[in-house]
Amino acid sequence: MSDSSTNSPSITAPVTGWATHLFSAAISLVLFGLLTSTARVWQSNGPLLIPSGSYTLLPALVLLGLALFIRRRSPQRLSLSPEGFSLGLLLLFVSDWFDRSYNFFPNPSVRGEILLGALIFALLPARFRYKTIIAALPLSILLLAGVFLSESQGRLLFSDDHPSFLLRLALLREQFPKIPFYYPFWNAGLDARDFFATGSLGVFLLFSPVIYLAGLSNLLAGPLYNILVATLLFVVVPMSTFWAARFEGLKPIGQVTSGILSLCLGLVWYRWALKYGTMGFVLAAALTPLNFSLALSLLDLELRKPWRKALLFVVTSSLMLFWSPSGLVFVPVILTALVVVARRVLAGHRKPLATPTLVAGALLIAINIPWMSLFWSVSNVGRFLESSSATPTTASYSQAAAPADTAPLSSASLDAPSREVPAANAHRGTRHREGKIDLQKSMSLIREKAFSTNPLLIFLAIPGFLLLRKRSMYTLLTTSAWLIFLGAILVPLKPQLELDRMLVVLSMLLCLPAGAAASELLSSQRQGAWVKALVAGFLFASPLCTAAVLSNRTVDQYHFAGPLVRNLANAIKDLGGAGRTVFAGCIVHELEEGHIAPLTLMSGKELVASAPFHTLWRYTQVIPKSFMERGDAGIEDFFILMNATSVVAHEREWRDYFSARPEQYRLAWREDRFSLFERVLAVDQPFASGSGTLVERRTAGLEVRVASESAVLKYNYFPFLEAQGCEIFPAQVAPELQFIGLRNCPKDTDILIEAGSPLKRLGAP
């Protein structure tokens, strides 16, 4: 890794020739066997192509032997060529790969699109080919963004975590930079601090001008959030990869191809982005190639436009690091940097790094260490990492004492329920099981992900590594191995980290070498028109397959909010009474496949539910165990303590339960499986004891006026809460409930209860 070689390709000129092609084909064959295991011809019930992966070894050895034979006769350096690796694509085309489940290609008939693409490329006059590929990136962006927005039809993207993310953006709009804070609207008050863990800050800062300009109501309306998501997925992602490829010195076709490939990573990418709604992760993954490329180029002593790159690096790295696990990706880059610095120091360089690089490093630390410290402290990251999968994951919105640790609804405790509900431990605590390292399972995981990934990334990235700059090649190879280790092997050890996402990050990074290989192949004057056409065919089909994903025409479906969401919010607002509305039972994704988090903003009311966010992986009853054990009286007591004036039931048992007690609950609204019952005898009383007035509920606190000596508010207590001019203390009203107690308050004075300075929480237990 000498400095002189950093800007030159690792192999001065691409080594071509039959020996290289055959050698590459042999590796490609083994890779194909490794990924497919048993393969059949054309379709899943076709003739056997290879009984198992190991059967590819023999033909691979034959190809290798031929390569060595040719090399002996006419001395050539053995290398890797995209042409040779195209054999993998050809095998994939004729095998049953397209029939495998959870495939990036939605249907085996996609062979037609590949053939058409290949045909068009082959028939295009040479002078048009270059322009066509260059035009393909903006066309793909337009196509995919258009398809996504057309699919949305103005409805709010509502799959899984998207609504939660929307709430976070809205809250950040109101409160940033005063985070974390106390949010009284959900579950009788909670610690709003998961902006750090979820990467919301990055997305918020990136789009803050739009978010501030648009206003809260526009943000919640739907189209704006969809446009933000579309911008992230179809503009930020390809542009990041495009510029990364540019900084890596790839040819224009390589830059464009990398951009196209980043749009067409595969099914898993869009699963995380659209179905799971992990937008923080999406932004971090999107910026990874750019930061990788910038970081490596900043290691050069002689930089072009150094200050611009340094500034860009600081901005994009900070945005990326807001999804904190992304730091793990850069371990090999950091090691590379250390090696480079060490070598330069040993070589007697007085200044091992350029000034802009040093400034960028310092700025990066200065910007990110403060919030990281706060994050570490307030989110109990250490405890989270040590926790096993039995505990619920990422309890980001800590719910002081309310529903998190509660027992499931027991049929014995209710009169009406006729169906048994899942037991407390019926579901696992995380998406992955905790266990030991199992290489066989790791291989299965890699296979599964491979089918969902764009095969161009798999088969072109390997020869593409050699076409990158030497330092990039070594670092990217190390990073790839590191990410495979994290994403496929280490997953069962720390399931709560969901490290399998690292394979998605890897596929994003592989866009660079794959783009380099595609560029070498498509723009070169080499022979092998059919190989070029085949690769072009796959490239042509990739945006179409992505469009199929966006059109919900694959096995992975994502969802938009139907009228039910707005109707439910309106019903709570208009019919829910002055107090809180409690969602009985356990609600996770039941409302249009998404979390109910933004309902507080949409309805303007305080709500209580087992989990407004993705903090539950098992059935958890909203009503704590001690209350449930007391039957009807306990349930009623809980509702009184929660100041509930209405309840929403979406489970049949609870609907039946409330319907069977018309003297206590009156059906006020019903749509789909959701029913809103008014609590007939309920009185809006925010004080559990003592007297006073709730003057105002704010996004980040409460304003009350206390009339008695002491009072207990029906809001959860947290040690970080402060009350101006009052003594605040925890009041244990039930084994699971600890409310805010106030004493020695000045009479007839408005008292603001809110979270204290975040700095005070640093180092707090």
Partner: protein, 631 residues
């Protein structure tokens, strides 16, 4: 006579003759076969309102295709302004023919022009151009007259091609005077492309792209820079793209998942476009489509070979013939002649998956037209006489196409008897095949019987046949036949052998005659073991179990289905559909007393037996009886 006057005179004569020719064709060929009439109350208006025309549901009785179609706004405007009294369809046809003539005339003029045309040579050129265009236009009118959609799509094609060619070519004395600037030519392209796009609707992008390909093949001396070419391409394609964006989503009836309205294409899963509107179930009958267009494909194939064989003799560029005619023919070959698993990856089935809205419209007719036009243009552009031969050849093809019997008697069904308004609606819906298939299956019966029995079909609950009340036997494995009436769906009678060859039968005799509305040959878990074709005969009384031979004399055929499409049902909106081929619910056209029934398998299949898990009956007047637990 000066050059200009000769041109004007030729154009005038040609136009008038074309119009008269078209007028002559209208009553004999066109009107009776028009299919895509707009239905009142089903109009989907555009964003820009009625100014850009009205979208109406159109249906194709051959392929069962169902899509929205809009007549050209220009045609509508002209008709409304000048010819309000004439029938719109006749006017549309005549106007289309005239446009076609003008386009072809322009093309032949560009192709045949030379630098020094004077006197007799000039007259010959003008006459040849006019005659070729005249024959070509009238032949196309015959070829496409019965298909309003394809005719509207193809009529503007030659005119746009002329505009593009004149813009690409070096300045010419008549069509592209040296003085006319490039901008004007571009404007003409945009105008022609707009008219084509708003006539061709879903087919616009395909046709505009084809114009560009044709232009590239025909350009002898392209004087344009790549920038100019890009402008021409943009001017050609942009109106098509805009037109595509303006197409509203086809308001298709809802059908349950897994149901069918056309015969199964035998490809696992459902082919779907990658994006854009999606029909709930496949609408296009691929079997009928392949059968229907095969003869015209063969004719065009022969014409192509003939042109290639004669190309050297008449100095025609074989490469040009291959590109202009051979390419569409090759596309048609993959689509129509290859096995369906290969066809689905052929370009003609790929394009509908990647161009929004095209999935609803069959392309074959348009591509046949492109092949024919390609042949005409390739030959006419090279040889004066050959064009005159090629144009009538189109007419021959057209007549052959028209004389080919279709797989379904669409025109007779529409005309033979007056039908109810609802029947009319269903005949112009994706359910038309389901309606027709059952009309055919029920021999010699009023076609309305399905609609009359809708309630019965919708609420049918078949009851199992008790062992005590019936006896059964079968041609194969008679010892297993009792399993059909044992009340258990896990057990079955099967003909065995791993295939169906035709001639297998099952016979049932009830202890007393029963008034039946239908029977169900329930398959249980053996969902692929349905009979590929079925004939049911029944006899009112019988002394013993019948066989196909014994019952032939005394009984009647109540169901005859050479191909089994699936049990019939109705959607909530009243559209008939097939529940899938595993559903073996058979409905009789009327309630009749039967003591003996013989079910004869008349189809063929490799790899699957014919099985019956349970025999169930639908007794007349007992429709509300709930069937047993297996149901």
């Amino acid at each position: 006579m000066t050059r200009l006057w000769q041109t004007v005179l030729a154009l005038l004569c040609g136009s008038v003759t074309t119009l008269f020719g078209a007028l002559a064709i209208v009553p004999t060929i066109i009107l009776p076969n028009f299919r895509s009439d707009c239905l009142p109350g089903n109009e989907a208006t555009l964003l820009l309102g009625r100014t850009l025309g009205v979208w109406c549901p159109a249906s194709d009785p051959i392929t069962n295709a169902f899509y929205l179609w809009r007549t050209s706004p220009l045609t509508e405007l002209l008709h409304r302004t000048f010819f309000q009294d004439s029938a719109f369809t006749s006017f549309e046809f005549m106007f289309g023919t005239l446009v076609l003539f003008l386009g072809l005339w322009g093309l032949t003029r560009i192709s045949l022009r030379t630098t020094d045309q004077t006197g007799a040579t000039l007259f010959k050129t003008e006459a040849t151009s006019v005659l070729t265009a005249l024959f070509g236009a009238l032949s196309c009118a015959v070829l496409y007259g019965h298909d309003r959609t394809a005719f509207a799509a193809i009529s503007w094609f030659p005119l746009l091609l002329t505009a593009v060619l004149s813009a690409r070519a070096a300045p010419s004395p008549i069509l592209s005077p040296a003085s006319s600037p490039f901008g004007l030519k571009l404007a003409l392209i945009v105008l022609a492309s707009m008219f084509l796009s708003f006539s061709a609707n879903q087919l616009s992008l395909l046709l505009c792209a084809s114009v560009l390909l044709f232009a590239v093949c025909l350009s002898r001396n392209c004087s344009k820079s790549s920038y100019g070419s890009l402008l021409i391409a943009t001017a050609t394609l942009l109106p098509a793209l805009i037109s595509l964006c303006l197409i509203p989503e086809t308001p298709t009836p809802w059908y349950p998942q897994g149901s069918q309205v056309v015969p199964d294409d035998e490809i696992p899963g459902m082919l779907r476009p990658f994006f854009g509107p999606l029909p709930p179930v496949p609408f296009i009958d691929r079997w009928a489509l392949r059968a229907d267009y095969l003869s015209s494909f063969h004719v065009i194939l022969i014409a192509l070979f003939a042109a290639l064989a004669l190309s050297r003799r008449f100095s025609v560029s074989a490469a040009r013939v291959l590109l202009l005619c051979g390419t569409p023919v090759a596309l048609l070959f993959f689509d129509l002649r290859m096995p369906e698993p290969v066809s689905i990856i052929s370009p003609l089935l790929v394009l509908p998956r990647i161009i929004p809205n095209l999935f609803f419209v069959p392309l074959e007719h348009t591509v046949i037209g492109l092949a024919a036009l390609g042949l005409l243009i390739a030959t006419a552009s090279a040889h004066r006489t050959l064009g005159l031969v090629a144009a009538p050849l189109l007419g021959v093809i057209s007549l052959l196409v028209l004389s080919t019997p279709t797989t379904e008697p669409s025109s007779t069904l529409d005309q033979a008897h007056p039908v109810s308004e609802r029947h009319q609606l269903l005949l112009r819906s994706p359910s038309q095949f389901a309606l027709r298939a059952h009309h055919w299956n029920a021999l010699g019966l009023d076609r309305n019987w399905i609609l009359e029995r809708e309630d019965l079909i919708r609420n049918a609950h078949f009851t199992r046949v008790s062992k005590d009340s019936a006896e059964v036997t079968a041609s194969h494995h008679p010892e297993l036949s009792r399993l059909m009436i044992d009340g258990r769906s896990k057990t079955r009678w099967t003909a065995g052998g791993g295939s169906q060859k035709g001639g297998e039968w099952v016979s049932v005799r009830f202890s007393t005659p029963l008034k039946l509305d239908g029977v169900e040959l329930f398959l249980g878990d053996y969902v692929t073991d349905f009979p590929r074709g079925l004939r049911v005969r029944g006899a009112e009384t019988c002394d013993a179990l019948g066989t196909p031979d014994s019952i032939e004399a005394s009984g009647v055929v109540v169901v005859e289905s050479p191909a089994w499409y699936g049990g019939l049902d109705f959607t909530a909106q009243g559209y008939p559909y097939f529940r899938g081929r595993h559903s073996m619910r058979l409905f009789f056209p009327s309630s009749e007393d039967f003591q003996c029934l013989v079910f004869e398998q008349i189809g063929e299949s490799d790899g699957t037996d014919w099985s019956i898990a349970e025999l169930r009956i639908l007794e007349s007047g007992k429709a509300d009886i709930v069937s047993d637990a297996d149901a």
